[in-house]
Amino acid sequence: MTRPTLALLALALTGCPEGTDPDGGSCTVEVAVGELEGRSFVELADGDPVEMLLGFQGFRMLRFAVRSRGPAVDEIEVGSFLTIVESGVELDQRSRERDLAPLPDGVLLQEYLLFVNDIPPAQIVGYDADLEMTVHAAGCVGGARVQVAVRDDDPCVDHGIVLDAATRPDAPDGGVVCE
């Protein structure tokens, strides 16, 4: 698949067959994984690069945006499952997300951080990774799948964080001071 390996698979087209959701969800959401460019959601396509971010205490994370077409809810539960294609190394995360922007046909999670706590950087940076994402929203469920290329072009602490070395000589915990 070349365009978003949206992997709602049959879900988006045919609806969720009964029993699809282990919790018994009987309706579906259409999920898309992307990034925010400005204020616009841009869906990721297979092979698109994703930048590894460096944060507090040396935590590393991948930042995504998630679009959920379905119920207009205040909270969604997001599950992620990442597999490094070459090595088979896996990572998973489940979280409740509430900072949602309304869409005409659903909600947009503008900032979803997938923390890479259990994979050393050298085992993920530079590799392709399959990302499966599931979204539970008010009893509805859906999923998407995309393959991304994990990059680390900018070794600095998370974008948008301005360090003033003149007034604060200490780098944020675990971070790297960038000139």
């Binding site: 282990p22 499952f81 489940r94 409740r96 539970h136 602490v157 301005v162 915990d173």
Partner: protein, 813 residues
């Protein structure tokens, strides 16, 4: 609902206050709000949670306290010779403490949720009398001659005295200190949350307080306070051996540097931590004290105070700290703050119980039970000077199981009977060989502990040490039984950690008070910065985060472009080809990655390195569109999530005795709380006075309504660092300062420090304006920001009596 609650509260407060004899017989346990409607919920097995142990004659008696929301009401009885379970005796609700009278027949059981203590005939195995007491009596001891008993009370922060005598087959108890009304004080006032009590001799007794970080010596007759020892760490137990007083605690570290920064112990000197900072300075210590004045004679600390963690101050390499990143850097002169090397002898984590005994030669010794590492270590005591020498060193300590807490000596067989609170069992440890026999005294019908994902988290909460890099720390070092200690600490998230402080969060009511922490930016699925401090990534070589190793090698990018470059094999294939420095560096973990370290520890501690899958699971998209669930690995992420699930699943809210017996003035306080005059309810709305409950549009956050803690330049040192903001985007900070989530006030009656910085020492200090007439001399009112009063609700216009009323109401929440 809110109106109904408030009305009910007001009506209840209108009723005449009951006398002590009219106290309700039992408190009603708090309901557990975590239920099947939550996706993480799963049924949990019933547990008896054995807690305290005592011996009378040839029998052992173990209180089965249960949990806060499902308390027990029985005592298990075992044969002290065969270790077999004989049966159970019903006592009161939540039996917590037990002590045997020197007559060898009778025992007293304190039932923390009941207004009576149970007198148990250990031969007949029946309760023969009930003694009226205030709720929350939690520690008891008889004097050596059996004529006096002392009882600690958490509700009244006092010690109650009983006269005791034996008349024929009866044990007659005459309380000296009697509660005359629910609102009255009773007994000898001591530091908050008194717990253990031990007699030093016939006349004097020692009382510990974990949350107040102190040990008190008092006259058991007059109640006079004779001496005080404040190690600035939770004092978990005390014993008298060889003529010395030995106290267990977890060190005075607060995460601040020792030589500059915040003066948390208020000794007037900058800095109050230890040589190591952050979580590294959480230690496990034994103080040897002079019996007459509790003067410190010796202090022994953790054997791994140096140098397992990559940041540890190392006396053999005083320049090593200069190689670290700025945030971890330490100057060579910091080594002067390390205690003497010959005092690094305590090998276990989280000392819970110390028991004197005699070696076969007759020489004095003590056994220390460690709950955080599930171990027992013995020490020989030199009677000439009180010094200790460990008999076992790290790696050879005697192993016990989950939640080791209380213990009693079985002299005739040279064994220590250790209560394994979470393990539902009692271990009988041979003090010479370490061989262990074990008897299950609790409830394993739902499977041996841990049997669910929430129980995995509960196990980690207590037995944390095997997951830490130096084996020293546990969650319960600071969250004692879910109640935070009265010690503000520094946190890595602070912009100026040397000067900033944070109150330790309460573990209670975690389910419906998310998001957690002052910043209201973390929940059960992402609060890993706390766990991170236990085992930083830099300690695991192939995480490639240790600058002392990896600064010598090309970067990953460089190696990707030029794989044949020297050293790139280590960079690109570290697991298969780690650089030699990994083995040579002398610190850090054996595992090459942190995930491996956690999974190895999980296998050792839990017997598994994957979740059960009942609450913690990953979802996979099947090719047919179906979502499949499977257990998760118990690496760093998985263990963190297990702990989060445990915190959700156990509310641990303590039933509030003030709500059961509301004081009359609480009526006026309730009106004041709800009125626009104070504005309390606008941010802390009833019924639970909590708006931090997760849900749209998220928690209320305010720019600081209080003067922030300021550093020497006047800077706001409550601010969090930019990296934290970038990593936890729910946190909000602007030019005014950090925005703080509104905390729940539930259970505030049982807290000892208040406000985000934990500097308010009482509820009165937290809500009063500076110089308010309701403040006692020496108290400080915090309801102001930069000199402007009433920024945290309007209390300046309240009279002293009204302030009392407001506090009386808040203490019913």
């Amino acid at each position: 609902m809110r109106v109904t609650f408030a009305l009910a509260l007001l009506l209840a407060a209108c009723e005449p206050a009951p006398s002590a004899r009219e106290l309700p017989r039992e408190l009603t346990p708090a309901e557990n709000p975590f239920g099947p409607e939550d996706g993480l919920w799963s049924p949990q097995p019933h547990r008896d949670r054995p807690y305290a142990i005592a011996r009378a004659g040839d029998r052992l008696f173990v209180t089965l306290r249960g949990t806060e929301d499902a308390p027990g009401r029985e005592v298990a009885v075992l044969d002290a010779r065969t270790f077999e379970l004989i049966g159970r005796v019903e006592v009161g609700l939540a039996p917590t403490a037990i002590a045997a009278h020197p007559d060898g027949r009778h025992l007293v059981v304190l039932n923390r949720f009941a207004s009576h203590a149970s007198v148990l005939d250990g031969r007949a195995l029946e309760v023969v009398e009930e003694i009226p007491v205030p709720f929350y009596c939690e520690g008891v001891a008889f004097s050596p001659d059996g004529a006096r008993a002392l009882v600690t009370n958490r509700w009244k922060d006092s010690v109650l005295r009983w006269d005791v005598r034996v008349e024929g087959d009866r044990l007659v108890i005459d309380p000296v200190d009697v509660l005359t009304s629910p609102q009255a004080e009773v007994g000898v006032r001591v530091d908050a949350d008194p717990l253990r009590v031990r007699f030093l001799d016939a006349r004097r007794a020692l009382v510990t307080s974990e949350t107040s970080l102190s040990l008190t010596l008092l006259d058991a007759e007059s109640g006079a306070i004779l001496a005080h020892h404040v190690p600035n760490g939770p004092v978990t137990d005390v014993a008298v051996a060889g003529g010395y007083v030995l106290a267990l605690h977890t060190g005075h570290g607060s995460g601040h540097p020792p030589d500059f920064g915040f003066d948390g112990d208020f000794d007037g000197a900058p800095g109050d931590g230890t040589a190591n900072v952050t979580f590294q300075d959480v230690q496990n210590e034994i103080d040897v004290l002079a019996p007459d004045d509790l003067r410190l004679l010796h202090r022994y600390t953790s054997d791994t105070i140096c140098c397992r963690d990559y940041r540890d101050v190392d006396p053999d390499h005083p320049e090593a700290g200069l190689e670290l990143r700025p945030v971890d850097r330490w100057p060579p002169e910091r080594v002067a703050f390390l205690p003497p090397r010959d005092t690094w002898i305590v090998a276990g984590a989280m000392p819970e119980r110390i028991v004197p005994f005699a070696r076969p030669t007759g020489s004095p010794a003590v056994a220390v039970v460690f709950g955080g590492s599930s171990e027992v270590q013995t020490f020989d005591l030199d009677p000439t000077d009180g010094s200790l020498t460990p008999r076992e060193r790290a790696g050879s300590l005697f192993e016990v199981r989950f939640g080791a807490r209380d213990a009693v000596l079985l002299e005739e067989v040279d064994r220590l009977a250790v209560v394994e609170r979470l393990g539902e069992s009692v271990a009988f440890v041979d003090l010479a060989s370490g061989e262990v026999a074990r008897t299950v005294v609790g409830d394993e019908r739902g499977g041996a502990f841990p049997a669910t994902d929430a129980e995995l988290g509960e196990a980690f909460n207590t037995v944390t040490a095997p997951f830490t890099i130096d084996g020293d720390q546990s969650c319960v070092h600071c969250h004692r039984e879910g109640t935070p200690i009265a010690k503000p600490v520094s946190m890595p998230l602070l912009e100026a950690p040397a000067w900033g402080v944070r109150n330790v969060m309460s573990y209670r009511g975690a389910f419906d008070s998310r998001p957690w922490f002052v910043e209201a930016a973390m929940e059960e699925d992402n609060f890993f910065p706390v766990i991170n401090e236990f085992a930083r990534r830099e300690n695991f070589c192939c995480e490639q985060s240790d600058v002392r190793v990896w600064s010598r090698y090309p970067s990953h990018d460089e190696c990707t472009e030029e794989p044949d470059r020297e050293g790139c094999d280590h960079v690109l294939r570290c697991l298969e080809s780690p650089p030699p420095e990994c083995a040579e560096r002398g610190y850090g973990g054996e595992a090459l990655t942190r995930e491996r370290h956690f999974r190895d520890a999980a296998l050792r501690v839990f017997g598994r390195d994957e979740s059960f899958g009942d609450g913690l699971y990953a979802e996979r998209l099947g090719d047919d569109g179906r979502i499949e669930r499977r257990p998760i690995r118990l690496g760093f992420d998985g263990v963190t999530r297990a702990l989060g699930l445990f915190l959700l699943s156990r509310p641990r809210l303590l039933p509030n005795p003030n709500a059961m017996v509301p004081r009359a003035e609480a009526r006026e306080g309730a009106l004041l709380f709800a009125s626009s005059r104070t504005g309390c309810a606008s941010c802390h709305p009833l019924p639970v006075a909590a708006t931090a409950v997760g849900g749209p549009p998220g928690p209320l956050r305010f720019s600081y309504v209080l003067t922030p803690v300021r550093g020497p330049s006047g800077a706001d040192v409550d601010r969090v660092n930019p990296a934290f903001l970038g990593t936890f985007p729910d946190a909000v900070q602007d030019s005014v300062g950090l925005r703080v989530g509104v905390p729940s006030l539930r259970g505030i009656w049982d807290r000892r420090r208040f406000l985000h910085h934990g500097l308010a020492r009482s509820l009165r200090e937290a809500i009063a304006t500076p110089h308010h007439p309701g403040l006692a001399p020496g108290e400080r009112g915090f309801d102001e920001r930069d000199g402007q009063a009433d920024t945290h609700g309007s209390t300046s216009g309240l009279s002293a009596r009204e302030l009392d009323a407001l506090i009386a109401f808040m203490e019913t929440l």
